[in-house]
Amino acid sequence: MQPESPTADRVTAAVLLLLGGAMCWGGFVMDRLEIRQIHPASIPGLLPIFLGFFLMICAIFLALGTRGKTSSETDDTPKETGNWSDFAFAAVWSCLFAVGMVSRIPFVVASAIYILVFTGWYLWKPSGEDGKRLRMMLLVTLYAVLVAIGISVLFRYGFLVRLP
């Protein structure tokens, strides 16, 4: 399923319809604060009800817009192409760093490991034969350590941030 395909739009429309419905319902059943004797027009759930409703309307229009279209149909506009495996590594490794490593190990160590693995992963193959590859990896290690120390020192001592 391509992200710009009618199928993707249909799936999105279904998700948005559910989200809109949930928002609408959440606003409707939200505490109306009668105990505080507030004006009935100022209940906290008012805008969420409207937003949920309008999102559902938009989702219906989105779904209707895909009527009669198939994923195999292509329009004249050139599509940007990319490398999904490069993307997947960047996404997974970055999430692992941000959610799994930061605050569990010292920030300077976590960021050095992150930069080293990130850069090393993409440069391992293009570096060619073993000698060149070793030199490149040494350069990447030095770069990762220096950048990690630089960022950590800047925030810790420059901006007085207690690092995670």
Binding site: L51, G82, F87, P164
Partner: protein
């Protein structure tokens, strides 16, 4: 006259060695950020906001504005040399900048882009000084009813103009932003909404982590997803860099028109620099004597695009300062930064801090001066920056994306928010959902919510003042017309009607 003297007083105030040093480094950093494909002005301003907490108010705002102006200008470098806009604002620049580079005139194209950017910002500064106080005075008459419609207007217009061929996706992005703003304690009764049982969500989703995620992490992912770019083969040719005065004089009308169009586009909430550049480019093409050259290396086209996108910067600050409604995504971050540094943008700004608008104009002036000096003297050095491999740059950017939002509140939760917005932002971008209405929604959600409920309380539940007060009624008409005109069936009917009024033969000259 008073405005002029206040402006000069602000310039004198900022002429200190320390502040000039801030101008120098932050504008240079902005140009570098803008020139690297994948690093946008919004990301630059958002990340730099996290580095300005310890600076005093004047220095912090100055640094952020210099970054903003520098990044928008810097985008022209890669647009001309790589045919890849460094920022979306420079997309129109690449149409004529890259062909000029291929003809061996990369240096001259960059010189012309520098002159265009500088003059566009200057036109915008003049309009900022003239219009902002007047708009602030008008905004003093705004009540809850008008602010409600202003917020709706922002979302609708931003969604429509940034949604491209599908305004619906722009509207959806705007509603999603508004929904994000509904999370946490609401502004009237302090009731906590939609926290899903997480106490960290009681205060809502902070703007900076959301922006850093949507524009920083999502951009890192987009850059790693895209194929590598190749530098133009002739970029290092020894051609002239300083623009000829004759060329600038020849395009004086184009410069003035593009500057005005760019500033006016900037005033429209959440629309941004890319639309300013495209609108200026289209207007220049329509009225040009050399329109056949457009897209093939037209100097006029390049000047129009660069003047247009740079003029949006002062334009976007007009509603940001006077209404607290951002004219562009970087201006949205600037609003958050203003609050952090104790400045309350909005209609009261001319009463609480009457000299602040002139200070901002002076900051823009210094940034313009800096981009002119850097642009004309360091052109060949900037080319080297484009050679930094993305594999080295992107992990550093992401590390800053992680530590930046954390530095503001020292909460690990904000890092998770950044990651969540980054992933969602990437998916939405790939599905052609614009980010500007989403961000605008997060900013305007609170205003919309409070204005609706306050207005209804004041009118005792009656909807009449929402439609019958003069400014409200005007907003309603504009919003309804905008939505109706965005419907494909209506657009086709209007096109048919224009065809009937003006037969094809009469319009060919304009359509070319």
């Amino acid at each position: 006259m008073e405005a002029l003297s206040q402006f000069f007083a602000a310039i004198v105030h900022f002429t200190t060695p320390l502040l000039l040093f801030h101008v120098a480094w932050s504008t240079l950093l902005g140009i570098l950020v803008g020139s690297l494909p994948g690093l946008t002005a919004t990301m630059g301003v958002a990340l730099l906001t996290t580095l300005t907490y310890t600076l005093d108010k004047d220095a912090a705002i100055l640094v952020l504005i210099c970054m903003y102006v520098g990044a928008i200008y810097g985008g022209s470098r890669s647009a001309i040399l790589l045919n890849i806009p460094g920022t979306p604002a420079s997309a129109a620049t690449s149409l004529d900048g890259f062909p000029l580079a291929q003809k061996g005139q990369a240096g001259y194209a960059m010189g012309l882009a520098t002159a265009g950017s500088a003059m566009g910002t200057l036109v915008g500064i003049v309009l900022l000084v003239l219009l902002a106080p007047a708009l602030a005075a008008v905004a003093l008459d705004f009540g809850s009813f008008e602010f409600f419609w202003l917020a709706v207007f922002g979302i609708v217009i931003s969604g429509q103009l940034t949604g491209g061929v599908s305004p619906l996706k722009g509207y959806i992005a705007g509603i999603l932003g508004l929904m994000v703003a509904m999370i946490g304690s609401e502004g009237i009764h302090a009731h906590i909404r939609f926290n899903l049982g997480f106490s960290e969500l009681n205060g809502g989703i902070a703007l900076i982590p959301a922006m850093v995620g949507a524009f920083g992490f999502a951009e890192v992912l987009s850059v790693m997803w895209r194929k590598k770019s190749v530098l133009s083969a002739k970029e290092l040719s020894e051609d002239r860099i300083l623009p000829k005065l004759a060329d600038l004089w020849k395009y004086k009308r184009t410069i003035a028109r593009s500057g005005i169009i760019g500033t006016l586009v900037g005033i429209i909430p959440g629309v941004g620099e890319d639309i300013g550049a495209w609108a200026s480019y289209a207007a220049a093409k329509r009225s040009s004597k050399e329109r056949d050259e457009f897209g093939k290396g037209s100097k006029e086209g390049l000047t129009a695009a660069e003047t247009g996108n740079s003029a949006v910067v002062p334009g976007a600050l007009i509603p940001a300062l006077t209404l607290a409604v951002p004219g562009s995504a970087p201006a949205a971050v600037l609003i958050a930064a203003l609050f952090i540094h104790g400045v309350r943008p909005g209609p009261m700004i001319m009463i609480e801090q009457p000299d602040f608008i002139y200070s901002v104009a002076a900051m823009l002036f210094f940034a313009t001066l800096a981009i002119t000096i850097y642009g004309l003297s360091l052109t060949r050095i900037f080319i080297l920056v484009l050679r930094i491999p993305r594999e080295f740059l992107m992990p550093v950017v992401f590390t800053l994306c992680v530590i930046g939002p954390y530095a503001l509140t020292q909460r690990v939760f904000d890092i998770w928010v950044m990651v969540g917005f980054g992933l969602v932002g990437f998916v939405l971008r790939k599905m052609n959902y614009p980010m500007a209405p989403l961000v605008l929604g997060i900013i305007l959600g609170s205003l919309l919510d409070k204005s609706l409920r306050r207005g209804l309380t004041l009118s005792n539940g009656s909807l009449e003042p929402f439609f019958m007060r003069p400014i409200s009624a005007m907003f309603v008409v504009v919003i309804v017309l905008s939505i109706i005109l965005s419907l494909p069936a209506v657009q086709k009917a209007v096109a048919r009607w224009i065809d009937r009024l003006m037969p094809a033969g009469k319009r060919t000259g304009e359509d070319q």
